[in-house]
Symmetry: C2
Subunit: 393 residues, 2 copies
């Protein structure tokens, strides 16, 4: 009976290769660049503990009751204010919906917007969590390549003209998996291409705060205000474990998103929202972010230096200006899946590129995470990776 | 642009009349039987505070990191053990998926199982949250009437034979909205009707612990083990604000549900799961439940007595043996929507029956909540309701 039971849509969702890798009981002798996690050394646990005590001491039992689907008003107002003061973006609190992490933002957007077969522009390589979330709603993906130069504009133009896509999904700052960012000029040209079309742009920005070089680039929310939905998250700058993110959407979309949120899980826990809010008003989040950025920046530079030292010249890498990832391309058509097998034996792992593509296999690309590994370990790990590549060459 | 943007599915979701009612700024002079909330006087806030302090003191930073989609192993084992010791049900921990409330369980089941147009048996009246969650996946609902005698068996037989439904959704204990429970014999006959068919039964049991009269009836999970998915929740016995519930599913369905959970929000907060788990192992939850049950039982009896005293004989009511709701049927074809208007002026509110039906309007039924109102207030409120009905008669 179970074989005929399931909905067609669930067969379309790719299994998470990453979760499969992470499930393997961690062998302490293996160096992992495969993670996608923020560094737990920067979780402000003591401060969250104080915030929690304060919430218990000052808020009533009401924080444990059912509550509204939009999210905690105070937290939404905090987010709104930070957009104004820090990013010069005008985001009214009533256009912010609190979600259970950005991942839920993607699910709610798929749920409210995508009919089966609707076209959706996605970056190539693209964020696996987004591919999974949207796959549930069975769109036709239109992959458009990205690089350190941003999005391939002629491919985008082609996709928009011939595909008439309903959505375009981007992570313009320090993208997962590639670590690339769209230069300002590239963003402006993307906005020009989309302006006036029926394509709604989803700007997913979980890493935007984690810039360790260069200057901030304009947000699509500024460049294309009527067509942009913005996603944000506290997972990379405070803790992922609260599962707290948000969607910024036009009023009409907000109404539909709130209906979808009700149908999906009524609302996100207000208890954790209160704790996070208390933490945010009692501390300067930007001080905290600076400490994270300093560490990730050093770790990224260490990885880049080790790459120069140990990997053959034919391996090309992106140049991240922030975030947690770096993307490497192997020489010729060397399969990164094949490399993964050999590298595992050399006791270093990474995520092969395949799951970040739509319908492409045996790619010669791979994702390297630098947020969770110290500089000495990075050096040893990249040396091992170099040895593994040497075996394959 | 916004008008053509949205997916067809989102237009199918009924707006929550209940949330609309609850949104109205509460006028303290209005007595509300419209709520669907557990009584916050029974939230174990002091105990949760202690549990939280213990979690901070004894668990590492890991509780704030990304974690597995299935949920906290310790909590799943606790749930498994309680099923065995308290309900004599064999539920292995690996078949339990922690969800963000039972509402998310419904969304995940719809997501993994329902293709558009699949038939789904639903109780009439049925739980609005389930109607909303499933509507997203666009099934054809087959409503089957329920009463204090349980489910209408001939109507169920007809629906199963002619409709070949993929799912059947029930709340067999102290149902929302009606407060009814299925008698044991009725359950056995339902199991006989479904046995060997392709219909999977969803047994949603958020209120099962809240029995204040009669004896427990067998679970469908026992009567129809290969075809039953069980949903549970901590919202009614601890607090709703943590948004913690669970699904018990056969192994094959678990695999799909975990994929859906990943795509939907990666995982539910492990921080709140740790706190809840600490609370559960440090206290006897059944002591706590007894206190809730005693209060709800008294309040239900008070409501029944006031109904006898103030409502015309032609108003018939269900006889709840537990839970939080009672269901009334007005004489003739008196519209409960019309009564709502008059009752609001008399300063008492309730939820008119309409939203609990599929495609039926102007019903003569209504839901009365007794969990959040003390006995004196119940008496005054029902007296006002009697006056309003008198005006309409």
């Amino acid at each position: 009976m179970m074989d005929t039971l399931f909905a067609d849509r669930i067969h379309d969702v790719p299994r998470s290769f990453i979760r499969e890798i992470l499930k393997v009981a961690p062998d302490p002798s293996v160096i992992s660049f495969a993670g996608g996690l923020p560094n737990r050394d920067f979780f402000p646990v003591r401060e969250l503990r104080e915030a929690t005590e304060k919430v218990f001491a000052t808020r009533g039992t009401g924080i444990f009751q059912y509550s509204n689907s939009e999210g905690l008003t105070e937290l939404r107002e905090y987010i709104s204010k930070r957009y104004t003061t820090k990013f010069n973006l005008d985001v009214p609190a009533e256009r912010i919906l609190i979600t259970s992490g950005s991942q839920q933002g993607l699910d709610l957007l798929g749920k409210t917007i995508l009919n089966r077969g609707d076209r959706l522009v996605i970056e190539e390589p693209g964020y696996l969590g987004a591919i999974q979330a949207f796959s549930i709603y069975r769109p036709a993906f239109l992959p458009v390549p990205v690089s350190d130069n941003g999005m391939d504009l002629s491919r985008l133009r082609e996709a928009v003209i011939s595909g008439n896509p309903k959505l375009m999904y981007t992570v313009p700052n320090f993208q997962n998996p590639s670590g690339i960012s769209y230069p300002g000029q590239n963003r402006k040209k993307i906005a020009d291409i989309l302006d006036g079309t029926k394509t709604l742009l989803i700007e997913d920005d979980p890493y935007g705060d984690l810039r360790f070089s260069g200057s901030p680039e304009p947000s699509f929310y500024n460049l294309l205000p009527d067509q942009t939905i913005l996603l944000g998250s506290f997972s990379k700058v405070v803790v992922p474990g609260f599962r707290l993110g948000w969607i910024v959407a036009p009023q009409k979309a907000m109404e539909k998103l709130v209906i979808a949120k009700q149908a999906t899980d009524l609302h996100t826990s207000h208890f954790t929202q209160w704790i996070l809010y208390q933490y945010l008003i009692d501390h300067d989040i930007d001080d905290h972010i600076r400490a994270i950025v300093q560490a990730y920046g050093s770790q990224c530079r260490a990885m880049q230096e080790s790459i120069k030292r140990y990997l053959p010249e034919e391996v090309s890498c992106t140049t991240p200006k922030g975030g947690m990832f770096l993307w490497a391309r192997l020489p010729g058509n060397m399969s990164s899946l094949r490399l993964f097998e050999i590298a595992s034996r050399e006791k270093v792992i990474f995520v092969p590129g395949d799951p970040f593509y739509i319908n492409r296999k045996d790619m010669n690309t791979l994702r390297l995470n630098f947020s969770c590994v110290d500089e000495t370990t990075i050096d040893i790990g990249i040396q091992r990776l170099g040895a593994a590549i040497g075996e394959l060459l």
